[in-house]
Symmetry: D2
């Protein structure tokens, strides 16, 4: 209700601030009997963590996860799994000067107005650092989906600023700092290198997909699978647009072309609908795209106001991602996993007897 829990049957409650003692989450509803250890979670955190290249923030955090509960002798027990990630590189001094200032495009202003108080250290609660617990919980969901259904969730960048990134090969995605599915990332390196020198930031688009999702996940009317995916993705920091399947391109489509022809055996000739029909998965791959705005914290001087409503010129220092979209790939994968496990469990609750 207060915005910090994802899901209800597989419910992830997130806590922490960027520069507090720790961030973490509690997962309530994980099915019992699944093998689980920190080693299943840490690799996903490592994909998301800062400091891995010169194109992301230089904050240096190991993001080591500790399982506090819910696992006994290497298996989940069905009770809450608490995951703790201690913050270790909190340089509060970097942010001190902006405690009274509102950064354009940033949640500073709205948090302060909403709550009458805000934790200004590193963006406090609105920091992208809070995606770490989401990624950790998503790793648990991913594992269950893979173990039980063979679901495979993957993502890659399709655009950074004006640079389009072709999809060539999934195997390339973890071979470069851009989550690009291509071997040739020279243009991206040049583009981002030039951007860094200006102190400015840029937006991005990424694609995330899930293969192996069986037909039948998703609830009509309001809690459509597509709706919950849109909710999850639009809830990720800086996201401004979400598409399922053909998305906005659908507007110019004719019905005779757009409707995916059903073939015998639960197959489809095309996938314009991105794996969701009437809000329910149809067995085709789930296809999602999201647009991410440029990072709000930039080194370029800007005009703004302060907490006393006085005009100021604002210069943000500190360490920031020039394109916050880059590290969003593992996060978007985690979010998709969390939506899917929630719907898998809901479907099992209501339709556990249906023979498909």
């Amino acid at each position: 209700m207060s915005g910090n829990t994802f899901g209800t049957l597989f419910a992830v409650t997130n806590f922490g601030e960027s520069h507090g003692p720790a961030v973490g989450c509690v997962i309530d509803g994980c099915p019992p009997g699944m093998d689980l250890s920190e080693a299943d979670i840490q690799p996903e955190l490592d994909r998301r963590r800062p400091g891995t290249s010169k194109f992301v923030t230089q904050r240096n955090e190991p993001d080591a996860v500790e399982i506090l509960s819910g696992v006994y002798e290497g298996k989940t027990t069905g009770t809450p799994i608490a995951l703790l990630i201690r913050n270790t590189d909190q340089r509060s001094k970097d942010y001190g000067e902006i405690a009274r200032q509102f950064r354009p495009g940033h949640a500073d202003y709205t948090y302060f107005k909403k709550y009458g108080i805000r934790d200004p250290r590193g963006g406090g609660r609105s920091s992208a650092r809070l995606t770490a617990p989401t990624v950790a919980a998503g790793a648990v969901a991913k594992k269950w989906l893979a173990d039980q259904f063979g679901v495979r969730i993957r993502g890659h960048m399709t655009q950074i600023g004006e640079v389009q990134i072709p999809f060539e090969d999934w195997a390339q995605v973890d071979q470069n700092p851009f989550f690009a599915a291509t071997a040739d990332t020279q243009a991206l390196e040049d583009y981002m290198g030039a951007l860094r020198k200006t102190g400015d930031s840029v937006g991005a688009v990424l694609r995330v997909t899930a293969e192996g999702v069986p037909v039948g996940w998703g609830q009509p009317l309001y809690d459509k699978l597509s709706a919950d995916i849109a909710w999850a993705m639009m809830g990720l920091n800086a996201v401004k647009g979400v598409e399922i399947g053909d998305g906005f391109a659908s507007a110019t489509h004719k019905g005779s072309m757009h409707g995916d022809t059903l073939l015998p055996g639960g197959q489809f000739a095309t996938n314009h609908d991105g794996g969701v029909l009437g809000g329910i998965s149809n067995g085709a791959p789930i296809e999602v795209k999201l647009a991410i705005k440029p990072t709000s914290s930039i080194l370029v001087p800007r005009e703004s106001v302060d907490v006393d409503d006085q005009p100021i010129e604002l210069i943000t220092k500190g360490r920031h991602d020039p394109c916050v979209g880059i590290r969003a790939t593992p996060i978007a994968e985690a979010l998709l996993a969390l939506v899917l496990i929630e719907h898998a469990l809901r479907d099992r609750a209501q339709c556990g007897d249906v023979v498909r």
Copy 2:
């Protein structure tokens, strides 16, 4: 949990099928003491209802709403408001032949697979007819938002198929059958007239906006105002994409350009963020766009399969919207109203003491 309730503090539970005896909803959580009668709701239903022009389905329903509870002597009592809309034009014979067939792009297939059973009459539960109760509930929400905060929610079409529709004047929107904010709709009439003759359908884009929303509505981390808007809109039949503010165009923006400059007095120089920062309203107008795919039920013959997984040639007869997007405007307004009232009440619960 099973997908038919919108919201928690202002919870709308929707029921009914296209060709059952009735559709309707129960609103639980409407604040007490508000003037309310059927006359506040019927005009919104009339905007959505079919049969109003040759460009929408010819099904003819008065969509007369009856308030069954929750109102005493013209005022809401704080108890559940049940709204009933009897179905009066159910021509089940139109649909009989497709009870065993799956229409490409339609929820036929996924409903049948999920539940092992489906009501084939007029699309059953997956019919766009189920947006009528949503619109009725949205009318109640709209009234409260207007009465309490002066919030004004409006929408218009920006694109039908390949035809872009310029925004010229809000006053025009209710003067033509396209919800177009322009006086000159000749091109649209020609385009849609030609489309109807082919028996095909087409997609659309529409914009919906809310002015007067105060700063502070929306919850971090997951239940962002923008996330809940995306959920609501993507949950509308046939929607495949949602944007807040600049949406996908943000990908090419620089941070120095995109971040909306704060001015004294709670104003912003621009509105690239569409009225939401960090998931919380910032006082600027809420700006949303949604892309709607072409209607799945078309008169053009297509290949598909039936319930026995056998290939068939399928011809849909009956009455359908050639562009289901057209009637989506009042629905999208209702959905935005429902999201906003939910967040208004959540904010009042947690931050009722904060002086803004």
Copy 3:
């Protein structure tokens, strides 16, 4: 959230007022494929309905239920089941004079203070009439529990006022107007006959039990099966106490006597715990008792205050149950059924893979 929905996976949203046009509910989450018609529901409503003997209110309502949605060709479809019961015997004139008065022990006062407005006709929303939709929904739950698991839910009165009612035979319960499990109800008839002449009312205790509940239903920590039963029962009008198993008598028990000895084959030597251990069903019968206070609306003159906080002498006229507890038996059975189906579905969601 606003109090009118029971359950989440099998969610029953209740609406209506005693003297409005109708009462009813929407069930969201009923599994698909179950045979269902009005004939499955009406008998339970008939057990609860008023006017069946001189010992209950003389209000005469057929309480005929109409299924508005969610059933197609005699089977549930997995979509919301709306149930409508039209009010037919609303004598608002009986209640007109007390619209400004607060009856001692009645919700008049608290509703008025909470909402600033109340529907005074027949108790409005706080009337026991609103248990009719609960009973209707409970009939659906009962049927599913019986069909799927062979669960059998029954209840009977154990005490009316000072009269203890021995348990002799389930078959007697429907043979007398007191839901007494005994053939000899002469003492009760005499007691209640004398009470009616005084215009006063009296309290009661009843027992409800469920046999055939498998081991494993119920959630730790807070949502224990016993906790949700207590919630359901204490939410029934006029209930002031709830016991599971030995209840308050447990206070004087020794651990060596109270702990139910486990026998091979999932049996227990005793059932002091009433079928729940650590909040989870243990396979023994669920045993619940509830205490119901005397009806608040009595014909005896009393002192009170009115809406202007002025002292008054109040005389309630109209038709009332001299012991509201009597008709509570079918309602308590329905409530227990609703709790059990909710937990059956939750268990299936999380532990659907566990081999028991």
Copy 4:
């Protein structure tokens, strides 16, 4: 949904096992701007903690609480408050021998059957140790209720085994190890001393009350304040009965005697209803009683079965409370506080405009 979250607007998600690394909780929804530090929470934990007298378990835990998030410069920020309590006295060896045995009256059996796995160390998740995070969260709720409304929540024992404990003076409650509101506890000491020597355990009854609750908290129909109190209390380990106001004694009451006479000024002549009318607080003190069964872990040998369904003789060793009810007083207070703050916030959401 999976049972480990208390409340929705003030949502407390509990995690941990008795002998895992830590127990704790996350509070989501605490209003911002309240002064809060560990010093506000620790005293309540100290009242609950073990090892304080020879009449409670000899486990020795400091139960030191750490605030991990949600507080900045001594004030709540409106974001999640994570509370961590490290376990320090886990003697797993005490429990090793019973990993394959089911204790009569204990959750061993049902946890194992439900999940197919259980953490046997010290009762794992079903241990009363998990009430520590509840007490910590309750301390936060208590503080807000006191600060905002002057609500005062207190409890005391009224019965231990056969010994009735008279209420004489609140000031005595913290002066003896029995939470007895009397100066003369010699009989209790003798009774408990004798009990300890037998290795057996005994049940108890306690009373908890809240003064200063304003009229208007609580939701009809199902989420009555009384229903939620019953849910909270029956969810506490070992509770088998709950009463509001006169409870089971109401069964023999006449309506003319039971109905609390309203006096001018929002006062009542009596409080048979225990402060709740129609599920909504009426301004009188909230009065609750709960019955607690004897501790299941006793030193007396008993018959039972093991995980292979074989009969065994079972002897529990280790450290246990001879009367688990004694330490329940601060827990019941915490539970009542959590119910009240939830309803305070719900009321503010829906009825924030009502003038009372």
